[in-house]
Symmetry: C2
Subunit: 340 residues, 2 copies
DNA sequence: TTGTACGCGTTATCAT
DNA sequence: ATGATAACGCGTACAA
């Protein structure tokens, strides 16, 4: 085994054929004789030839990779969703370049800029919570680079998106709490700029309004995505003069914080406080009582987003109408919501 | 804003200078006049020029990206470690291509092959549990592509690695259990091929031997990385005629399964069964009783691996001795280990 | 079926 | 300080 990198030229020289012939033989081009094809392939195998994808990509005009931009990999939903994308990308021979924004708008812009420069084949993006300016997304569209939003999207940009029915499932969750006899229901949400959090808030409000419950500002909490901020907000909410008897949390992580503070304050779950989270993380089933939560189709969301993206990639000049796919999520009821 | 992609040539034509001049100006080459440099940069800015990284990479001979190959993104440790790598890669202007093997050896080989073809600048790899043949790693080294193993490594390959002291910390954990008076201590490990699991097993054995405890085969469990297999193994272990009174689990996830089965069997934690996990996942603190666990420096491991990799990348012809960095992990004691 | 010549966008080398 | 030319490795018209 030599350590020199073999290229098309080497194979061509050895077999005394042209580079084009070798190129065609390796890629099963129709106009090539069976004989030379095998001859070339055999030698390529022997020499452990590997096509230089960079060179190929240069004249393809784009990389055989897609860029995935998410807030944080350690959020359970994104790790799952990325697995779904990989399933699709792998079959088509594409790599996935994953970038975390860490909820920073500046970082998001820099990443988009960089991936555009890398001539990525397409983007799958879930917005950072801090993103308020959308010029970098507009630039992607201007360059006609395929773009699909998922989970956290951006209404101002005309492109495909894959989301869940945040409004509907939050509404359903709150209605469930109402049926179980809860009277003072709170929503423990994310930062005020995060659209999916606000959609859930709207679902919450709709449910309350429908059942003629009052909308109490102190029961509509916004908090940052870090445990310190969440802990303080939980403390404030649970020590209200009139504390809630049920809480719909934006995420399981927030629900964990609420569990913790409730325990410290001696509040009994579910008898004096019912709790519902979001994401159905593995540990939710192990808490005592087990946490009721919303199961999100994270894997399917990633897979669908990738499928739609590759539709865009494979027919670039097709005039298409941007589609919005809404996937179903479902309520998983466990011990943290009271029985009746 | 036009939608045409601007290239060096366009800028050169407009300013009536050569492409080389533009290229130099944009990259702050020393031999360029201040005046033209600014002229070029200003126009580039106006036209929203973005250098084509693919073309650059073609003559760099490699991509400005590193390949990260891990078993599963949803394992907490890997999501954390990747954040550490990103911190380093970002500063150097490198992207990260992340690939999951899903614990499949075939997948791992295919990924390595593909990333080599993509002319990746270097690899950071954590082995799949099924990997027994190392030819694909040897090929990386033969091609002189930088390679760093982390967490799960491969002794047969001479290269850098970043690991934790699995032997030592497992030994320490078992000794702690012995001090607390546990008499029948078991190890609940991963698949028999996984090196880090076996290292922990050795640490376990060393601790028992030192304290003249018997080594009982039924107390040394191997199980696959899926909840079904883990559940069955947990059931078998806990329903032994002489069940253990303490278990060191390979991971928090395994510990969760042991919690669950113990509860179902009415086994009290920690009074009749002490439990220690590995990873210090966020939910461990919330279980009742809270799970004692080994905190691993996952972020630091990723960061260190990336730093070492870039050392290799930046001086490719340096003759260097492969180094092994061992990071410290620590025991976090909580309610799941009995008090005395 | 095969070969020739050129292009992909940029950088390096060697002139000037 | 700037320009001309040849790489980088491969694919693709077009020609033969």
């Amino acid at each position: 085994m030599s350590d020199k990198i073999i290229k098309l030229k080497d194979i061509a020289r050895i077999l005394s054929v042209s580079e084009s012939t070798v190129s065609r033989a390796l890629r099963d081009h129709p106009r090539i004789s069976q004989a030379t094809r095998e001859k070339v392939k055999t030698l390529a195998e022997q020499l452990d030839y590997m096509p230089n994808q960079v060179a190929r990509n240069l004249q393809n005009r784009h990389m055989n990779a897609i860029g995935v931009v998410v807030p944080k990999l350690s959020y359970y939903l994104y790790a799952q969703a990325i697995s779904g994308m990989e399933e699709v990308a792998e079959q088509l021979g594409y790599n996935i370049i994953i970038c975390q924004t860490n909820e920073s708008a500046e970082r998001e812009q820099a990443i988009v800029q960089d991936l555009l420069s890398t001539r990525i084949a397409g983007f799958i993006i879930s917005l950072s919570s801090a993103t308020v300016d959308f010029e970098h997304f507009a630039k992607i569209k201007r360059r006609k680079v395929p773009l699909v939003f998922f989970n956290r999207e951006c209404e101002d940009i005309h492109t495909d998106r894959v989301i869940i029915d945040n409004f509907g499932v939050a509404q359903k969750a709150v209605e469930h709490l109402i049926e179980r006899g809860c009277k003072r229901i709170a929503y423990f949400g994310g930062p005020a700029e995060v659209q999916i959090s606000n959609r859930r808030l709207e679902g919450y409000r709709a449910a309350l309004t429908t059942h003629q419950f009052p909308l109490i500002p102190a029961y509509m909490v916004h908090t940052e995505f870090n445990s310190k901020s969440a802990y303080q907000a939980a403390d404030r909410l649970l020590r209200l003069p009139q504390p809630p008897d049920a809480i719909l949390a934006f995420s399981d992580q927030f629900a964990y914080t609420l569990y913790q503070r409730a325990r410290e304050l001696g509040i009994d779950i579910p008898n004096t406080l019912s709790l519902i989270g979001f994401n159905n993380e593995p540990a939710t089933a192990l808490l005592q009582p087990a946490l009721s939560t919303v199961d999100q189709p994270a894997y399917a969301m990633g897979k669908t987003a990738a499928e739609i993206l590759f539709q865009q990639i494979q027919r670039p000049n097709d005039y298409y109408r941007a589609q919005t796919k809404v996937l179903q999520s479902s309520l998983v009821l466990r011990g943290s919501t009271r029985r009746s």
